[in-house]
């Protein structure tokens, strides 16, 4: 997909996840909206994957370490055909496979996550196996910024650099909010990029809601030979929905009927713009 198509796709995914959360009356709205562009770039352009062969040996791997933001992932996997889109209606309902966190009973999900601070260590293991077996696949791991307070993140960071995993890409969804408010008030992280660099990673800072920048930087991996890459993706929590942007409360707030309508109107206006831009090109 080209950049305009990717932008349009991200708007569609945002609409789908909002409808899904509204229908289920539960979900992590803010963090899913903030990472939708990152996931769209990965799944529709950057990663080598095949929905008809979810366990294809040479596929790139994605680990949602911030597993609570699974809503964007469910909508993308359904849209790509990993499972029927119809199933999104069962999200969070009694007996569903599509629970509020990644569940690897569902095709397309590698590992079960939900407890923060697990994903990077798992990704280090996958990247290490790929390297030792001489495979060409990459491992992408998406973390939250609040999640950086877990010590296990840093244990894995150390190991990733120690084993020179240039097939490993960690992404921090740096939206500067967690549940209780601003990350810098809850537990200060800055200077976060310097910390990762000091742990031996090549750090690249990008606008994580800029599709062009995302694709360009993802396609430049490995950025430095012999080092894992850390993308500091500066994002906006609640991105794309004006009244949810940068509001901590929307972490797991559910839109009511009116708010859903308003959000869908904003997103379809954006979608229309992208479609027109696409025709002009």
């Amino acid at each position: 997909m080209d950049i305009i198509e990717l932008k349009a796709k991200a708007a569609e995914i945002r609409m789908a996840l909002l409808k899904m959360i509204h229908n289920a009356k539960t979900g992590h709205t803010g963090g899913s909206l903030s990472n939708t562009d990152i996931l769209t770039a990965l799944y529709y352009r950057v990663m080598k994957i095949d929905p008809t062969r979810p366990k294809w040996e040479d596929r790139d791997r994605f680990i949602a370490s911030k597993g609570h933001s699974v809503e964007s992932l469910w909508c993308i996997l359904a849209n790509l055909g990993f499972f029927p889109e119809e199933e999104l209606k069962t999200f969070s309902q009694y007996g569903t496979r599509l629970i509020g966190h990644p569940n690897n009973k569902v095709p397309g999900i590698e590992m079960n996550t939900g407890a923060l601070g697990h994903g990077l260590a798992i990704s280090v293991g996958m990247a290490l196996a790929g390297k030792r077996d001489g495979k060409g696949y990459r491992v992408y791991c998406l973390m939250g910024d609040g999640e950086q307070a877990e010590g296990s993140v840093w244990e894995a960071a150390m190991a990733g650099a120690h084993y020179k995993l240039e097939n490993l890409v960690a992404i921090i969804d740096r939206n500067r909010l967690q549940i209780s408010g601003s990350t810098e008030e809850v537990m200060g992280l800055e200077p976060l990029e310097e910390k990762w660099a000091a742990f031996g990673w090549n750090v690249v800072s990008i606008d994580g809601n800029d599709m062009d920048a995302l694709v360009r930087t993802f396609e430049s991996v490995p950025t430095v030979s012999g080092k894992p890459t850390l993308f500091m993706a500066n994002t906006v929590k609640g991105k794309g929905v004006s009244f949810a942007e940068n509001v901590a409360h929307w972490h797991h707030h559910v839109p009511n009927d009116e708010q859903l309508e308003l959000a869908l109107a904003e997103l379809s206006a954006a979608l229309e713009r992208y479609k027109q831009e696409g025709q002009v090109q």
């Binding site: 289920a24 969070s92 009694y94 007996g95 966190h101 079960n112 010590g151 967690q178 537990m187």
Partner: protein
């Protein structure tokens, strides 16, 4: 009966009240002051509140250090992470070092519903119970939560508390009863069979008792709010006087209340017994009531099992 106050809010209110005369009470949170309902405490007593961020191992270590320095820390964090992620800190820094830390696991059991096994806390009793010196308490309703919190402030030592997320229907009519750590409460007297329940399943047991009464069965209900130290006397008395025992809990059938009761019964006074809880599998997604019904943690199922046991 209809109650709209969740137990986590009761803990906050009670600690707010008690902190008026005690500047050593401290509350710690792990990006959870909202879900733990501790925001009012943080506001009223900023000097007695510590936010550690998403770091459950760190929160227990810091609490142990505070306790060692004369503070009375209450750690509030989701039960699933607090009981699993931090268990080594709980074993070594709290229990082994005998520090005065109260560990309050919030949103325990299956109260996180569709968030799945990472967020369900149904192994916590088993793990906490195996740690020497750590008391384990699950209050039944808001009245008991208040009395328990008052008792915990007085109690010197490590305690793991587990409460759920949503308001629960009352099991007690008022706070007008005696709450003693380690002493079961006889909620209903009875001669034919005993249901031993804990936490939110006490309400389910009481409903089963009412149904059994209709069927002409005299059923005793014990609220085993403290699983450790266990009230062996009450269990043996029930075995002796009623002959049959059913345990009910919002926990894995392995290592929880049922296992604790069975250990006592089997070794000292064997009688027919049934253990009701979550089977050895990831609990199904759904609301607490849906999950309970799915696994037969319901008044109807308990009643059925009791009648079956008695008709043998």
């Amino acid at each position: 009966m209809a109650n709209s106050i969740p137990n986590r809010q009761v803990i906050c209110d009670t600690l707010l009240e008690l902190s008026k005369g005690d500047r050593n009470i401290m509350v710690l949170a792990s990006d959870s002051s909202g879900s733990a309902a501790m925001a009012p405490f943080a506001k009223a007593y900023p000097d007695q509140f510590v936010e550690v961020g998403i770091a459950e191992q760190n929160i227990v270590g810091i609490a142990a250090g505070l306790a060692h320095s004369g503070k009375k820390p209450f750690v509030t964090s989701p039960a699933c992470f607090l009981s699993m992620r931090s268990i080594e800190q709980i074993k070594v820094d709290v229990a082994y070092s005998a520090t005065n830390v109260k560990l309050v696991g919030i949103s325990g059991g299956v109260s996180y519903g569709a968030l799945g096994m990472s967020h369900h806390s149904v192994q916590d009793i088993a793990v906490a119970r195996a740690i020497p010196g750590l008391a384990v308490v699950l209050p039944a309703d808001r009245h008991e939560t208040k009395k328990m919190t008052e008792a915990l402030v007085q109690y010197e030592g490590g305690v793991y508390v587990r409460i759920g997320r949503n308001p629960v229907e009352d099991s007690y009519e008022s706070e007008n009863y005696e709450f003693v750590l380690g002493k079961a409460v006889t909620m209903r007297e009875g001669r034919d069979i005993t249901i031993i329940a804990v936490g939110e399943t006490v309400r389910v047991a009481l409903d089963a008792e009412a149904a059994l009464k209709e069927a002409g069965v005299s059923c005793r209900v014990l609220n085993m709010h403290t699983i450790k130290p266990l009230d062996k006397e009450a269990i043996l008395k029930a075995a002796e006087e009623t002959g049959y025992i059913i345990t009910v809990e919002e926990h894995s059938i392995h290592g929880g209340l049922g296992a604790a009761v069975a250990e006592v019964i089997v070794q000292q006074r064997p009688v027919p017994m049934r253990i009701l809880g979550i089977p050895d599998e990831p609990a199904i997604a759904g609301k607490t009531s849906e999950v309970f019904d799915h696994y037969g943690i319901s008044a109807a199922n308990i009643t059925k099992i009791a009648l079956e046991m008695l008709s043998r």
